[in-house]
């Protein structure tokens, strides 16, 4: 329950029973291809629009997670989902297909951990037996929404990030085997006055740093408590800034335990500039790669800090700065390894 200012500790240990991760063609060529349940070689996923393709990503990731737990849609009480598209239609339309009672969320790229935090809280409080939390993004649909047409020849600066085409879903349950969710820290909206939408990492780093520092303070943890603290997604620019900011606050994480999901997903040489981003990035990397490593015993305790830039294309044109947010969720191996 409430611990400190803004952290929930889950004493009933909600279990991640199963996960589903689906990616696109660019992710299939990336470093973590083996950790995806399903990869598509077509950015359209056989649909006639990118928005519909993203809806299919959500549907498939949720269905995969439910299938892997050998359950049916009726066995799931609630679904939390969100994405980056106007009025979060891909998630809501997937909710229509899946017919699971649905909460739509928007927290930009922080949606992945926002949904998981809420799902875990409800499970912990026995408000449900099983909840699905999903987050997705689609490169072309997001570019269309926030930037220029995909085929437009505008040169991007080296600080720009590449939106991941992926969806990740986690099935949280009161009982079962798998990694457990131990706590969640809900972040404040922080705006340090940056306004360049091609430099999200720089804008989001203070929000990530604030949430991380708050998490360690609220739970009164030593700096070396986690085997891995992974942000999603600060990229090449934001990660070193966040590191410097938390060190300023007197929290020195051990070397190499502070990483970024957006820097894990792609291979060296893929043209992604400062790294991956998007709600689907932290969701698919966490629910795929990182939980797989946890199941293999390589990681025991991890903290995922999903960061979101809460801008709209209109707010940017109206010369507003970019408010940012970060939510952290901690996972622990245990509750019976599979």
């Amino acid at each position: 329950m409430l611990q400190g200012h803004q952290t929930w500790e889950f004493e009933n240990k909600p279990v991640i029973l199963s996960t589903g991760t689906v990616g696109g063609p660019f992710e299939a060529g990336g470093k973590l291809a083996d950790d995806f349940d399903l990869l598509h070689d077509d950015l359209w996923l056989g649909q006639d629009s990118y928005e519909k393709a993203q809806k299919v990503l959500v549907e498939e990731s949720v269905s995969r997670a439910i299938e892997k737990a050998q359950l049916r849609n009726e066995d799931i009480q609630f679904m939390f989902a969100g994405d980056l598209i106007n009025q979060i239609t891909p998630s809501s339309f997937a909710g229509r297909t899946l017919a699971i009672p649905y909460f739509g969320l928007f927290g930009a790229c922080s949606t992945s951990m926002e949904g998981l935090a809420l799902a875990s809280f409800i499970i912990n409080a026995k408000g449900a037996e099983r909840i699905i939390a999903a987050a997705s993004s689609h490169n072309a649909a997001t570019e269309k929404q926030f930037r220029y047409p995909t085929e437009y020849g505008g040169q991007k600066p080296p600080t720009a990030q590449w939106t991941v085409t992926a969806s990740g879903a986690a099935l949280v349950s009161t009982v079962g085997n798998g990694p457990v969710v131990t706590s969640a820290t809900i972040g404040k909206v922080i705006d340090m006055g940056l306004s360049d939408p091609f430099n999200m990492g720089g804008a989001m780093a203070p929000a990530a740093a604030d949430t991380i520092v708050s998490h360690f303070r609220d739970r009164d943890l030593p700096a070396d408590y986690y085997d891995l603290v992974a942000t999603g997604d600060l990229g090449k620019v934001g990660l070193p800034i966040a590191k410097e900011l938390i060190e300023e606050k007197g929290l020195k994480l051990p070397e190499d335990t502070f990483q970024d999901c957006g820097l894990m997903i792609y291979r060296e040489g893929q043209p992604v500039l400062a790294g991956g981003s998007g709600a689907g990035c932290s969701a698919s990397v966490t629910y795929g790669h990182l939980l797989n490593r946890m199941k293999k015993g390589e990681l025991k305790r991890i903290l995922i800090v999903a960061t979101g830039a809460l801008l709209s294309p209109m707010s940017f044109q109206q010369k507003e700065t970019i408010p940012c947010i970060a939510h952290a969720v901690s996972f622990e191996a245990g509750g019976g390894l599979q």
Partner: protein, 159 residues
Amino acid sequence: MSSSKGKNVTPAQQKYQMLQKKHELKRPVVKNCFRAFLVGGFICLIGQGLHVFYYTFFDFTQRTAGDPTVATLIFISVLLTGFGVYDRIAQFAGGGTAVPVTGFANSVASAAIEHRTEGYVLGVGGNIFKLAGSVIVFGTVAAFVIALIKTILIQWGGL
């Protein structure tokens, strides 16, 4: 990039923006200029080749060969946009592919392709000049102002 101009910036924000600047990956300006010069120049070279080709082998004069030259460049640019190649060249070339007429053609074609899913009328028709529209608007406004100045100078200025 910070937006501190004319806005209330708290000392904490100011301090952060300094720190951020230190870590921000800089645009490789010199390299970008060099690439833009090479690629832009190469496009102009192709244009010049086409120009000579049209007035040598077809019934065009040096003055009129400009029209088919521009049309050919636009055609090639739209074709490359449709095949999904133009934006990749542009990431390398920057201004080199944006400034020539090929860049304008790309901005129109890419918007048309992007909004095809919303139908021909509201999608393609309504969005085709999404990027190029402001170029046309301010180009026309500028031309009008210049024409006005010229007319005034000739009519009443006695030039």
